[in-house]
């Protein structure tokens, strides 16, 4: 029989022998599959409802903005006018109308010169000069001076009855910034009355919550890690409420102790290659399987961990099976087995976060103290695992099956200590918790969390 024929006969033997061969699949696998399918369905619903909630929040915010900025200004103007009309004695109406016209014309001329701010004091003075003897009119001009463009709108509407034009002017954002007096009236025309830019950063304490049968064992080998977070927020405030949107770079991390890392020689010959050999090349933990970036690196758990994963086998302290010394492909008795390090790993997950936070200020004087809550959209930027070798953090691989997108909830406090009229020092203890499991496809659910005290600067514009 020629070599080719021999080869074909071997192929045929296996092809035909295995063609219809089947074995009992492992038990409980269906339950796992069913769990995955249910989880996926849940995720799908979650994504749908999250998008729906975000859309609704946007629509509601825009509606409130519209109501406060457009609708209300229109109705405030009309209401003021009616009140003023009612308060004026009939016999004085003719004089009042004349004075309105004068003040309105003056406003228009000053606005067209781009000197709107100044116009208020000037116009107030002018009005006062012209109408000292008319109490009702004094009230009206004072009100006009306080509410900015609405005064102009009202004056215009009185003058020419062009209310539509006036409200359009108001809604288009023409607004006087330097107005003394009644802030509440001013706030009624905008959905926010103050705006800040905040920069903050913090070292954060990062860990995870594990839900699953292996949680106890994983808790024994995994530890929290200290990482950092930094970013910017744009903050809009009105009365005691503030809402913020921003962009943060945040690193989440988990530390794994009792790990063996081996730099195996490249000229490995697998004299006793066995199917058990490869399992030592990667390491499974709560967030997924850590795979080395190079085929010459071996990562393994210590004896305790391996003994848990394979309770029917015996292991040496470095996690190698006692009866299978060469299973790593390395002859430990040889002169060059490669360096072996007993160390710890740190899995680092870098996220770009888009936070949407809401804040209520309990104290709002010069010093501000508020409660914050919100949601983060987290986009995974990178996922790297480091080993501490000779005191240095050395990149050795990455974790598989990490979700590229996650959602986290935020809860915290915000304290702003004024440094000057526009600058405040921020102190913000903040807790974040990932609502979705970090991994996909594992039997354990792992939700990272972190807490830290952010410090930074807040600038008012």
């Amino acid at each position: 029989m020629s070599k080719q024929e021999q080869g074909r006969s071997i192929d045929k033997l296996f092809r035909e022998g295995l063609a219809d061969y089947s074995e009992q699949a492992p038990e409980y696998l269906w339950e796992k599959i069913e769990g995955r399918l249910t989880q996926k369905r849940r995720d799908k619903f979650f994504r749908f409802y999250t998008s729906l909630a975000a859309s609704l929040a946007l629509i509601i915010s825009m509606s409130i903005g519209y109501y406060l900025g457009f609708y209300q200004s229109k109705h405030t103007t009309s209401l003021n006018l009616k009140q003023n009309e009612q308060s004026m004695p009939l016999e004085k109406e003719q004089t009042e109308t004349k004075n309105y016209k004068e003040s309105a014309q003056y406003y228009l001329s000053t606005i067209s010169k781009g000197n709107t701010s100044k116009s208020y004091s000037d116009s107030s003075t002018k009005d006062a000069d012209h109408n000292k003897n008319l109490k009702a009119h004094e009230q009206i001009t004072a009100s006009q001076a306080k509410i900015g463009i609405n005064n102009t709108s009202m004056a215009l509407s009185v003058m020419g009855g062009k209310e539509g034009f006036c409200t359009a002017l108001a809604s288009n954002g023409i607004r006087v910034s330097k107005i003394d007096g009644n802030d509440e009236e001013r706030q009624s025309v905008r959905f926010f009355d103050r705006f800040y830019i905040a920069f903050s950063a913090a070292p954060i304490y990062s860990y995870r919550v594990v839900d699953g049968v292996q949680a106890y064992t994983l808790d024994n080998i995994e530890k929290p890690a200290v990482t950092f977070s930094t970013g910017l927020q744009a903050i809009f405030g009105k009365q005691r409420f503030e809402w913020a949107v921003g962009m943060y770079f945040t690193q989440m991390a988990i530390r794994i102790d009792n790990v063996m890392v081996q730099q195996a020689p490249k000229s490995i010959y697998f004299a006793s290659y066995s199917k058990s050999s490869e399992k030592y090349s990667s390491l499974l933990n709560s967030s997924g399987n850590i795979v080395p970036s190079s085929s010459s690196i071996v990562i393994s758990n210590s004896e305790a961990v391996m003994a848990y994963q394979y309770p029917d086998r015996e292991f040496t302290p470095n996690g190698v099976e006692k009866y299978d010394k060469v299973s790593l492909g390395v002859d430990f008795s040889s002169d060059s087995p490669g360096a072996i390090f007993s160390t710890y790993l740190t899995q680092r997950f870098n996220y770009l976060e888009i936070p949407l936070n809401f804040q209520y200020n309990i104290v709002q004087r010069r010093f501000i103290l508020g409660i914050q809550a919100g949601l983060n959209s987290n986009f995974l930027l990178s996922n790297v695992t480091y080993a501490s070798i000779d005191g240095k953090q050395t990149k050795i691989g990455k974790t598989e099956n990490i979700k590229r997108f996650n959602i986290a909830s935020n809860l915290g406090l915000s304290m702003a200590i004024p440094l000057s009229s526009n600058v405040s020092f921020l102190i913000e203890p903040r807790f974040r918790y990932y609502l979705l499991s970090i991994n996909k496809g594992l039997s354990v659910e792992t939700h990272p969390y972190s807490y830290g005290i952010y410090t930074g600067i807040r600038l008012r514009y």
């Binding site: 029989m1 070599k3 021999q6 080869g7 006969s9 071997i10 192929d11 045929k12 033997l13 296996f14 092809r15 022998g17 295995l18 219809d20 061969y21 089947s22 074995e23 009992q24 699949a25 492992p26 696998l29 269906w30 796992k32 599959i33 069913e34 995955r36 399918l37 996926k40 490995i268 010959y269 697998f270 290659y273 066995s274 199917k275 058990s276 050999s277 490869e278 399992k279 090349s281 990667s282 795979v291 080395p292 085929s295 492909g329 598989e400 496809g441």
Partner: protein, 193 residues
């Protein structure tokens, strides 16, 4: 009367969980063997089987009825196993670095007439192959792919695919010989003592 596979598939298309379970029970055994053939160990085979069925239930609408459903499923499992292999391409050695020992094979004559190995034994033998040999042997001998296709799928050269197949057969032949359930005879070698 039991439901036809097509009926079960139709219900799976609507996301019916009971039908998904029926489909799983129907094919899990065969697909488990496919996963075992490609996986490095039973743990990985379990992962592939689990992932494969999740993919199948999610993508079942993509099965257009051309060819057998079993073949379509098998393809998914093989693709997943290959993806796993490409991700964890660890510790395989490049056979080009190792001299092929043709003379060893020349001395052996393999006759398959009386070989009686069970499916379990054959599976065990394939599973014992080194990773890259196992991949090439599965794809060539069982899935009947060409070396060119295999080379593309595994990211190796055709020559490497051929030499891996050669080595895989050699490996299997030796393992079969160890089992002593077939005719195996070695020619007397004239060795210089």
């Amino acid at each position: 009367m039991s439901e036809s596979i097509q009926d079960i598939i139709n219900k799976c298309l609507k996301g019916d969980r009971a039908s998904q379970e029926k489909l799983y029970r129907e094919y899990a055994g065969k697909m488990w063997v496919v996963c075992r053939r490609y996986a490095r160990d039973t743990e990985q085979a379990k992962d592939i089987l689990q992932e494969g069925f999740v993919v199948i239930f999610e993508k079942i609408h993509q099965f257009k009825g051309k060819g057998s459903f079993e073949g379509w499923m098998r393809r998914i499992f093989i693709n997943l196993a290959l993806a796993e292999y490409r991700k964890k391409k660890l510790f395989f050695f490049d056979s080009n670095e190792l001299p092929l020992q043709h003379d060893e094979l020349d001395d052996e004559v393999f006759e398959d007439d009386d070989i009686q190995l069970t499916g379990a034994e054959l599976l065990e033998l394939i599973a014992s192959l080194p990773t890259q040999y196992r991949m090439v042997f599965n794809l060539y001998a069982i899935e009947e792919m060409s070396h060119k296709e295999i080379a593309n799928m595994l990211g190796i050269s055709e020559g490497t695919s051929k030499s891996n197949l050669f080595r895989a057969r050699e490996w299997l032949r030796k393992k079969i010989a160890e089992k002593s359930q077939f005719k195996y005879r070695s020619k007397e070698r004239t060795l210089k003592m």
